[in-house]
């Protein structure tokens, strides 16, 4: 049997998280072993969507995200979203309430766009980018602090000026809306939907559209 949702035993952290999030496997349609020959993905797009959101969330929470993994998951999410957008009348299968209350639309950190989070990544990484920036004409470049001993780890150089203001200064212009955004501002006022419905995996396509709009940054933030 293929190891559904089972991580390599060495990666205990991932395994712990996954087992607590296994609820989404309940709605999986026939197991792969019952498929003879090639066939389409057994999970309905909405489940794949949820799975991808989970992977994205998990990937972004890691210390240093695996950029390839992140990009591939985001691109897959976009594919699923455009496929779901093409079939607005496709009925969403009813899903049982999750045993563990892990919301489909993940907790607040993901309500900001993925792009904003990728931006954070590049902002912090951009600070160490000063090493590699150089004018195109120069055949060879020097880092900004030529007097540095190459053996010294992570030369700060101009970054020390930033740190003079303390670490707080570094994060001044980072998007903090993850801490104070309303999860579903439009949905709450629209038809008075209950929180249960929002947390359940059976979301309307319009809600999913909204979420995907946010994620792919088509909304002005």
């Amino acid at each position: 049997m293929l190891c559904k949702g089972v991580k390599r035993k060495r990666e205990e952290e991932e395994e712990e998280e996954l087992t607590s999030q296994d609820w989404w496997l309940e709605e999986a349609t026939p197991s792969p072993s019952s498929e003879e020959g090639a066939g389409p993905a057994p999970l309905p797009p909405s489940s794949l969507f949820n799975l991808s959101i989970f992977k994205l969330h998990h990937g972004l929470r890691r210390g240093e995200p695996d950029l390839r993994h992140l990009v591939l998951v985001v691109n897959t999410l976009r594919r699923i979203q455009s496929s779901m957008a093409l079939e607005p009348s496709a009925p969403e299968p009813p899903c049982p309430a999750p045993a563990d209350p892990f919301p489909v639309v993940p907790d607040t950190p993901l309500c900001t766009s993925v792009s904003a989070l990728l931006d954070d990544l590049s902002h912090i990484e951009g600070l160490s980018d000063t090493q590699t920036a150089f004018p195109e004409d120069a055949p060879l470049s020097r880092p900004p602090d030529p007097g540095l001993d190459p053996g010294r780890p992570a030369p700060l150089g101009s970054l020390e000026l930033l740190l003079e203001d303390g670490l707080e200064g570094l994060f001044d212009d980072i998007d903090t809306s993850m801490y104070d955004c309303e999860l579903w501002p439009n949905l709450k006022t629209d038809s008075g939907e209950t929180e249960d419905k929002i947390q359940g995996p059976g979301l309307d396509v319009s809600e999913l559209d909204y979420l995907m709009d946010v994620i792919v940054g088509t909304q002005t933030l």
């Binding site: 293929l2 060495r10 057994p42 950029l67 591939l72 691109n75 990728l118 150089f134 020097r142």
Partner: protein, 447 residues
């Protein structure tokens, strides 16, 4: 290949296995890279714990005509240590991502090893004699009182037990913001490239405090990021040419003479998507995990999740040969996405004459494809077959329908046992295959 066929078929035999026997794998012992040197006499492995182990082939024994020399441990050293990036508050893994050997110029051997952020040039040298008979020093190193010296003698070299020393000669640091996935030494043997997810840098082996950025695909706005660099390699003969592959299944060939920043490719290799096989996972499975030039330099091979493709450098619109590694997984992509196996990065390699290519799969299986006979074979790296000169039995996976005797069904495959790293001796039919924490060496049967 072993099996029905003519006299040219190779019969692969178990030769050696290195590494711990028990099933409980220590994280640090996970092998992360395998590479023969240019003569094939040395075989290097890197692991997740940042260590490099070099094996040396024994000189061929004239009396032992039925097997080639065995590989024994030659040198072990700690190449990289875990580091802490204080700015980002992140630990930098010590795992060795790649090892590349320099061609031998003198008695010492040199190799480049890299983790996610730092590349190091190591010198491995032998010491088998030491000077004895100093005038001012005793044998134990204590200084003699000069007034007690009545005669002078010339120190002489006397043999000692062989000592192999590894010393870091250069450290190339602070040039990569993202994770280094490839290093490749240029055919000029003076420069090399290092590639991370978004950039490729060119270095001179003598100069550590600067590098030249030759490819940069980072978008001005990270929101627009949709593609990353997955592998890069210099052409084996043409010192101005290199290729890099992407997560979207494309390969770009660049000529460094064209411009300083090679953001515009000279050639773009891409096969159009097969509409009948389109799925949500099409892009993930098209992501190229490895690219290798043939020794001749005329072809290059790419590995994506399900196949190995051979490209003629003169034809950009499709590969000249495609080999399915484990097509039976195509119907299982959803499950493989769930358990993240779909993101596994398999490597591939050529044999010395470019006639056979090899790559790994799951269940500790590995596959070889003979480009001339078009025959392929699946073999298993397992301690069950570990009698020397035992010919390996071909394995077969049953995708569907009635399972024949000795076949394994897809659902019985162990997806935790993956062979990601393989290497082929540059001149002989000797292969090194890495399972999670063991290194297997197989040879062809010598009659």
């Amino acid at each position: 290949m072993a099996g029905a066929g003519g006299g040219n078929d190779i019969q692969w035999c178990f030769s050696q296995v290195k590494g711990a026997v028990d099933d409980d794998v220590a994280e640090a012992d996970i092998i992360s890279t395998v590479e023969f040197n240019h003569s094939g006499e040395l075989l290097a492995t890197g692991d997740k714990g940042g260590r490099v182990v070099i094996f040396q082939q024994e000189q061929e024994n004239k009396t032992q005509t039925h097997s080639r020399g065995e590989y024994n441990v030659y040198s072990t050293f700690q190449s990289h240590e875990p580091e802490f990036d204080y700015l980002k508050s992140l630990e930098i893994e010590e795992k060795i991502n790649k090892i590349r050997w320099l061609p031998q110029k003198n008695a010492a051997q040199f190799l480049l090893s890299t983790n996610d952020k730092t590349i190091k040039l190591w010198k491995i040298s032998e010491r088998d004699k030491r000077p004895e008979g100093y005038n001012l020093k005793e044998e134990d190193g204590r200084y003699r009182d000069p007034t007690t010296v009545t005669t002078l003698r010339v120190p002489v070299f006397r043999p000692m037990d062989l000592m192999v020393e590894a010393s870091p000669r250069r450290i190339f640091a602070n040039a990569h913001t993202y994770h280094i996935n490839s290093i490749s030494i240029n055919s000029d043997y003076e420069t090399y490239l290092s590639a991370d997810d978004l950039r490729i840098n060119l270095w001179h082996l003598e100069i550590t405090d600067r590098s030249f950025n030759i490819v940069d695909i980072k978008p001005a706005n990270m929101e627009e990021l949709t593609e990353v660099i997955t592998a890069a390699e210099f052409h084996p003969n043409s010192c101005n040419t290199f290729v890099y592959s992407s997560s979207k299944g494309t390969i770009r060939l660049c000529d460094m003479r064209a411009s300083a920043l090679c953001d515009r490719h000279s050639k773009l290799f891409e096969e159009p998507e097969d509409p009948s096989n389109r799925s949500f996972f099409s892009e993930i499975i098209s992501s190229i995990s490895d690219v290798k030039f043939s020794h001749s330099g005329r072809y290059m091979m790419t590995r994506d999740y399900l196949s190995v493709k051979i490209w003629d450098l003169n034809m950009e619109n499709r590969p000249v040969e495609t080999y399915q590694v484990h097509e039976y997984l195509r119907s299982k992509l959803c499950s493989l996405y769930e358990n993240d196996c779909i993101f596994d990065k398999f490597e591939c390699c050529w044999n010395g004459s470019d006639s056979v290519v090899m790559t790994g799969s799951y269940n500790n299986f590995f596959r070889m494809f003979d480009r001339n006979t078009k025959r392929d074979i699946t073999l298993e790296a397992s301690r069950e077959n570990n009698k020397p000169r035992t010919v390996l039995k071909p394995r077969k996976v049953c995708a569907s329908g009635k399972r024949k005797k000795d076949e394994i069904s897809v659902d019985s495959l162990d997806f935790n046992k993956k062979i990601l790293h393989t290497a082929w001796h540059p001149k002989e039919n000797i292969i090194a295959v890495a399972t999670t924490n063991n290194l297997y060496i197989f040879q062809d049967k010598v009659n």
